[in-house]
Symmetry: C2
Subunit: 418 residues, 2 copies
């Protein structure tokens, strides 16, 4: 078969799976997830055997040790995949929830019912565990998943999908509910994102290049995660000891993540008290600091910065520092240079808290908390399929609920349009 045909065929299977899933009960879906977990564990040897084919190819191609590490299906990873499936089985089912219901003057009841989206296409890169994680969340929310993993993990992904499909058939769910695009050409992605009518949503998980290609070419709605240029604003009314802990944690706890702080904003009234001690602590931890002119006046030997630095997602131990005159300047800076991801204010002031919460246009806006806490698990969503930096459907961590939509339901007694 040609690539185009393969992709079309797999999407058609997924569509059939999605339609069949409209009838599935919570019990059935949970049973499928439990069987999937058991099977992944009992077939660990087979998975590792298939994984070795990918590893051999990776070594041949000279991939970096870090990439090979991400690719390797160790027992620990297989256990985590199984546990992840069980965790999702334990979450409550969002599908069928009637979120609201009201009565109209003509007597009909109108409401909204939470329903699956349909077929969700996941385009991802090297880690094979995404295959199981994404499937679990999509399935629990009643969606069929159409998977397109990275070429380098092809054999591993295909083996995982084989096991998952056997498990769902055993739970009497249509096997199309988990569909895998079993061709490696990049052309398959371009085909996949043009199948409007068969695929309802695309979630790309990978580098900026992949996300850009998908966004620019997709005819299907895309939920994506661009970059995280996150801020902490230390207000004049901050508890400065708390501010120090929050800034340090936001930057240093895991600097390579999207919710780590990239720019620290400090109110002028507390800058000369706060900055020297904070800077020393950062430097001891190996953080490279870049400061605005006022920061340079307060801290000696600090590198300057240019306007473009404020747009940077360093993903490393580098930090911009800027002194601001008031909360207005802080909010304006965040809305201009930030990426609408995660921003936090440290303050004891009630009025400024409300203003920050209202006026900062980010997917997560925090008061007196580390930006690193913006995460599906930390927020209590149970699990996340990604973090959305889009402005529609979902902003921030996307859990089960974000993999559904609501339809209107009407309970009438013969109402007609006048």
């Amino acid at each position: 078969m040609e690539i185009k045909e393969v992709v079309h065929q797999r999407a058609k299977e997924a569509k059939e799976g999605a339609v069949a899933l409209l009838k599935a009960t919570t019990e059935q879906k949970n049973r499928a997830l439990q069987i999937m977990a058991e099977r992944l564990l009992s077939e660990a040897d087979y998975l590792k055997e298939e994984n070795r084919k990918d590893l051999a190819y990776a070594e041949e191609k000279g991939l970096s040790p870090a990439m090979i590490d991400r690719l390797t299906l160790k027992d620990r990873i297989i256990n985590e995949m199984a546990q992840g499936l069980r965790d999702v089985a334990a979450l409550s089912d969002p599908v069928g929830e009637i979120t609201r219901m009201w009565q109209r003057p003509n007597g009909m009841h109108v409401g909204r019912m939470r329903v699956p989206i349909g077929v969700i296409g996941i385009i991802y890169e090297s880690r094979p565990n995404v295959t199981a994680d994404a499937t679990a969340l999509c399935l629990k929310a009643g969606n069929a998943v159409l998977l397109r993993g990275g070429t380098e993990a092809f054999h591993s992904n295909r083996a995982i999908v084989k096991i998952l499909k056997e498990a769902i058939s055993e739970a009497d769910i249509h096997p199309g509910a988990v569909s895998f695009i079993d061709v490696t050409d990049r052309e398959a992605i371009m085909e996949m994102i043009r199948l409007e009518g068969l695929v309802d949503l695309i979630i790309p998980r990978g580098g900026e290049g992949l996300i850009r290609t998908v966004t620019e070419n997709s005819r299907i709605p895309v939920l994506k995660h661009y970059k995280g240029v996150c801020h902490v604003y230390v207000d004049s009314d901050a508890d400065l000891r708390m501010a120090e802990e929050i800034c340090f944690n936001s930057k240093v706890q895991r600097p390579g993540t999207c919710n780590a702080m990239e720019t620290m904003l400090v109110h002028a009234a507390v800058a000369s008290e706060f900055l020297p001690k904070m800077a020393e602590r950062f430097r001891t931890a190996g953080v490279t600091l870049k400061g605005c002119a006022e920061t340079q006046r307060i801290i000696k030997d600090i590198e300057g910065l240019e306007e473009d630095d404020y747009y940077n997602e360093y993903l490393s131990l580098t930090l911009n520092i800027k002194v601001v005159q008031d909360i207005d300047e802080a909010i304006e800076h965040i809305n201009r240079y930030g990426s609408a991801h995660t921003d936090s204010i440290v303050t004891e002031n009630y009025h400024k808290t409300l203003r920050f919460l209202k006026e900062v246009d980010s997917s997560a806006v925090m008061v007196n908390a580390s930006t690193r806490l913006n995460d599906g698990g930390q927020f209590g969503l149970g699990a996340e399929i990604g973090i959305s930096t889009d402005k529609i459907h979902a902003r921030g961590p996307m859990g089960l609920e974000e993999l559904t939509c609501t339809k209107f339901i009407v309970l009438g007694t013969g109402q007609l349009r006048q």
Copy 2:
């Protein structure tokens, strides 16, 4: 200026407007809407004068009387625009609502706050009243609107926007909140839908050609309305007198609308009792009937149909009739041939009601009610910016709430990531 520059400039103004709107209060927005309404009324002569330029062009171009009628700014239309603005002012403001809030084990409170989307691009065709209607809804939900109306209504739209902009300035809202693309070339649409980063959502309102062009080329999320292939399923447990009224209303009350019935499904057990009388009533009202083989057996002289007819949105007094064996066949038919718009079951059976509500994958699923009731006004949403047939963000009528999204808010007391 080149077209590209004009579009970019207007989008930039809208973006500035959207950022400024984050600070706007409900009172300010309502005041703007009230002033807009007053001004449209007091400037009616100016509007009609500008409108005459469009009408002269339309006559010169030989547009149909129906199109010229849609284009004409009569006093009645101007009054309706003003009333529409006041109606939206009277609706409650969705922005800032905290829809839920919960506490995490580390003591932080996490919640969701309803926030504007940002800049919403509206691409529409001939009716100039859309200019005021769309602006009202976008503004009330805290969004800046970037308007791109049809060429044939250019002078009318520009005049309306001029008045709306003066009104919002008087209410101390940034004039960029209402931006108008003041070039008529179609190229402007192509530029507009590629301005990701400036525009957050595109809502096309027009014919299938426009919607297809926008969807295929946009880099920005699109919420669209394709076609409405709607069904009524008359179950074996239906109250047949009620079924007759619902089917008649769904087809005949206004056949040219998207929520009118295109195919009537009738359970075999009641077909020979129900169909002859129903068919007679339809024929008396001038409806052309097309029937499946079984229907042809029951009703003499009825035209046959082909599978493709089931996909048709007639938008006229033509109706498909199909006899089905059970509710399974009815649901399967709807999910296969329908457009996921509006579908209704007529039944007195509790179990089948629940199955229909769950398993029919449409934006509005009804029990014992006319499909014609799927409408923002009828549902009590206050006003609607359109009906979405998409599967994410919003399905069905889109009111104020659908012009917002939710962000996460966190109230902490110094929480850090462990």
